[in-house]
Each structure stands twice: as C-alpha cells, then as structure tokens.
Symmetry: C2
C-alpha cells in the first residue's frame, strides 16, 4: 500500500507529459526522486513524527514542518521548547532536497546535516543526541528496524539523520499545473496565469527564483535596491562565512507550493502573496507592480502548488518500561 | 483509497472469527462502527488535525490525542497554550465512542459535547468558538466542504464538533489478539496470557474493566480499599455532580491499547503497566499481586492492542488573505 501510493503519485509526472514540452524555460518540472531506500524511508517517517526525540516529548520534526500544511508551521517564527520564540521562519521541508544547502543561512550542507540540528537546539527540541539515542535504543521495535535497515548492532545519530533525510527526499511535489504546462499541456494555465509568468520573468524575479525548485539554488541579499527592515535580528549568511559582504544574504526560498507556505520571508513578516510580491518588487528589483500586475504574478505563483505527499500516518512503536520519560515541565 | 483502507481494516474483524466464539466472557470484541457519514469523517479528520483551531496556530486535537501514539500524548499531563501545565492526563481518543461519557469526570455527555471543550479552554487551545468559526469561514475550501456535508450557508460550532465526533467514531481498534481469541482463535493467546486473563477476572479487575472497551462504562472511586495519593488536585466526578460522595470518582479508563497509552491514571503517575497493576491491586482490590502474577496480568493486557486506525494524513486547505493569523506570542 505504502509503495503503491508513492509510485502512483510519481507516475502522474509521466502522465502529465501529454504533448510537446516547453523548451528553454528557466523553470523545470520536478523530477521524481531516484535511488530511494524504502526501508529507510519508512523508518525515517516514524522518526520524523516521533516527539520522543524532544526533551518535552511533544515536539517532532513535523511540529514545525507540518506535512498537512505545506511542510511549514504557518506562523512567523516557530514555537520551541517551553514556548520559546524562534529566531527565524521555519522553511518548508517540501522539495528541500533540491536546495543548495539547508537553513536560511545555509549552515547545513544537506538534509542529513540539517536533521540533527533542531533535536539538540536548546531553543527548539532542547534534547541531546545522546539522550535521543538512549530513547531509541530502549524501544525494541526501533532496535529491530534500525538493524534491518542499517545492519548494525547499535543505533547512532548518523543512522537517525540519514533515515530522516531519506524520508525527506521523498517529499517532492510533482504535477503542479505549472509543471503540466511546462510538459506540454497548453491549457493547464489560464491567460492571466501565463501573463503572470511572463511578468515574473521579465521583471527579473526569475533571476533568483529558477530551476526545479523555483529558488533554493543561491544566496542573495535581502534588500538589493532598498534596505529591508526586518522583524528579527538575524544577519543571514555572514553568520556562516564570517564575511561582512554576506550580511543579510539568505538562501533564496523555493516558490514551489508558495500558496501554502505563508507567512513569507526569513522573518515571516509578509502575510500574503500580494504583500510579498509588492515588497520583493520594490526592494529587490526597484519595480512597483501595479495592482493588476501583482494579481497576475500571484495567480502564476499559485500554479506552483503540486501534489502534496500522501502517506499513511505512521504508528510509532511504544516505549518500553526502560524508556526514559519526557520531561516537559522540568528545567 | 480512503474508503478502501477503512473497509479493509474493518473486514479483518470478520476474518478473525475463525471457529467457535468464546461465550459468556465479560469482555466483548470491538464492533466496527456503523451508520458513518464518510463526508463528515473526511471533514472531521481535517479539523482534528487543524492547528488553526487554536490561538497559537500550533495545537490541534492531535497534539494531545496523537493518533501515532495510541491517541494520547504519552506524558503525565498535557502541555497547553504558552506551555501551561494541564491539570489531568489526556485520555486516549481511541474507542472513546464506547465511553459512557467524556473526560475523566464525565462532564461531556458525548464526543460532540467534548470536542468543543479544548478549543475554548484557556489552558489548552485558548481560542474561542467565534474566533475558530471566523478562521474556518475565511477558508474557501472549508466553506465548500461544510456546505457539501451539512447543506447550510454558514458554518456553526455544532457542525464543527459533529464532524470531529464523526471522525472520532471511526477511531476504533478491532482485531486485537484478545478479540481474535474471543472470536474463537484458540491459539491467539499464549498460556501465560490466558493465565493473566484468568487472574484479571478472578481478582476482580473485570468488575470495572469489562465490556467492549474493557472499561469506560462507569465511574468508580480511585482508592476503594486504601487511599490514592494523587499527584494532582482534581477531585473527579464531584466537580460535575456536586455530591461529596463522588469525590475522587473517575471514569474507569478503557484498557484497549493500554500498552500504548502510558503513563497511567488520571494524574499520569504510573509509568509502567507493572506499576499500574500493582497499585490497582492494592488500592482497589486489597490484593498484592506476586511478581509472577503481575507479569501475567501485564501479558494479558498487552493482547488488547488492536489494529490502529490507518489513514492518509490529511492535507489542510490553505488560509486565504482574509484568514485571521494565529498569535502564538501575544497575550
């Protein structure tokens, strides 16, 4: 059943390629993931949903990257352990395998490197890798499943993050109306949506938002033409490179499923696509979109919503008598 | 697919009835739900998972009644808005349609009456029914879906709680090994498990834990033979009836899936089944189980884990520009 669901979802990509594909477009259709280890995916899915990887026992990867809501939490900045306010907007996990690096500042090279971060971040899941491993090692069904997937006698953090990353690699969203159009279905877009795409290209948005993920491939300054007054105090890429030139540089976010991933920007300050398009036009391109132009660009952006990952909600293996209990209310 | 999954899961009940059923047992097999409105179930499932029914935008029914974890949160008392500590252990939602009433003190007559409580409880989801309806009315896909299901022009709280309750009615767990045995599969239980069941009956546990839900049908005093020193300050049923005689009376919890619904008791003070069986024996029955007896009762209890509800994780309709935004960090 699980495998069938995955395959059925991916086959749609092929079915959509009805007639002649649009050539020479700066955006390309999402490709199905290949070389996927399905045993690892099923294990990773459980871990992704398992709040026992947090100190409190109530926060999982899915808490802030909710797969019912476009892989985000739809609030400006996330809520961490003890209701701490996060410093930055949670980016979507959907299509994140296509990013050049992970986190807004790119401090993790890939999904595996990212997955360990929140678990041990005192402001997020507030646990430690050692404590998380103690929990997993105490749960017989996890011990067996890790053994089957990795063939080792002991669970380590590399196995945990590899499995989560493998699950995340499956979280692509093919078959958006825009991709159907790219693949040759001429009537997949309305006239307004096509005009919006034309505006998107001609105004220069596409300089950064291009490729398979319509973004995610580079770091760019937030506020090229005029400064952006952020709601937060983060400084972006310079925190990683130490270079002053990288201040306020952020990874260009993907625009795939952008209708679902509000609010927008690294500080989550823009509630609507209308607002986001207006601000981007002014501070990045020096362009003031008219209301009509803005509406058409927004109409185009909404065609980037693809098939959301569909899967059976995982049933987590129960703790044993030896499993350390979560401590939501202790220091 | 959704309907097929439900039907397949329920058909197993029939398949398990291989030979002659065990007659005259005080526990009966779980029956599949009937007269289910599938449109309402699908809508109710979305609402059950939708954190926009909370002030913060991060808490849904599934936060404390997690369907990946036996319909509970597996912590002693739940975490509410702004990380408030809840007063009482979150009971499982699984098989809750079989309960005589809802909440530990039975203050809600049925699932529909229960569903509205946490949304408006300042210590839980901290919202109001009016604000929740404002959110739903602003989301076009919800407006359409409510219209299809209820045929009315306006969403009201009765529709919301009815739909959630209808989804919850499907959350039954048939086909436990114990039910297979009840239905005639003699080798579904080991010798130790059968001995454990005999002890469970002969020691008097079954006086309260009986019927389809193995509990859930009556209110009983916690501490019949000797007083229970609770970790909390709640007084149980008397808060509803106003009768002094009902102090420390609680709804008898279901023991279905009890392996998954730790920690135990209304204060969540017992971490393991071994501990819970020991305490129940002493304070309710005046009986000290030997280690061997305790282990066998626990072995029996673990045969009550049934097929967990399996369904595709719902994809929530996105907010519109008009949707009021959640306020996790405001007062």
């Amino acid at each position: 059943m699980k495998i069938r669901t995955l395959v059925a979802s991916l086959m749609v990509v092929g079915v959509a390629g009805i007639s002649v594909a649009q050539a020479n477009e700066p955006i390309s259709p999402i490709k199905p993931p290949s070389q996927i280890n399905l045993g690892m995916v099923e294990l990773g899915k459980k871990l992704y949903f398992d709040p026992r990887l947090s100190k409190s026992g109530i926060m999982s990867c899915n808490s802030c990257h909710n797969l019912s809501m476009g892989g985000t939490d739809n609030i400006p900045t996330s809520v961490g352990d003890k209701w701490q306010q996060g410093p930055i907007n949670a980016p979507t996990v959907l299509n994140s395998s296509l990013n050049v690096a992970q986190f807004w500042d790119g401090r993790a090279a890939d999904l595996k490197a990212q997955a360990g971060g929140p678990i041990a971040n005192p402001g997020e899941m507030a646990f430690t890798h050692t404590l998380a491993l103690n929990v997993l090692e105490s749960i017989p069904q996890y011990v067996r499943e890790f053994k089957v997937v990795f063939g080792k006698d002991k669970i380590d953090i590399d196995q945990v993050t590899l499995a989560i990353a493998e699950f995340e690699k499956t979280l692509v969203t093919p078959n958006s109306r825009f991709d159907q159009w790219l693949l040759g279905k001429a009537d997949a877009l309305t006239a307004d949506e096509k005009t919006g795409y034309k505006l998107f290209k001609e105004s220069g948005c596409v300089a950064c938002h291009n490729g398979e993920a319509v973004g995610g491939a580079s770091f760019q300054k937030m506020g090229v033409v005029s400064a952006y007054k952020a709601n937060d105090k983060v400084e972006g890429r310079s925190a990683v490179t130490g270079k002053d030139a990288d201040r306020f540089n952020y990874k260009v976010p993907t625009l795939r499923n952008v209708e679902m991933t509000y609010p927008y920007f690294h500080d989550g300050a823009a509630n609507t696509l209308t607002e986001a398009v207006d601000i981007m036009g002014r501070i990045q391109l020096g362009k003031k979109f008219t209301a009509d132009e803005n509406a058409k660009v927004v109409a185009f952006l909404k065609t980037l919503t693809g098939d959301q990952p569909q899967f059976l909600m995982p049933i987590l293996p129960p703790s044993s008598d030896k499993t350390p209990r979560p401590t939501p209310f202790s220091k």
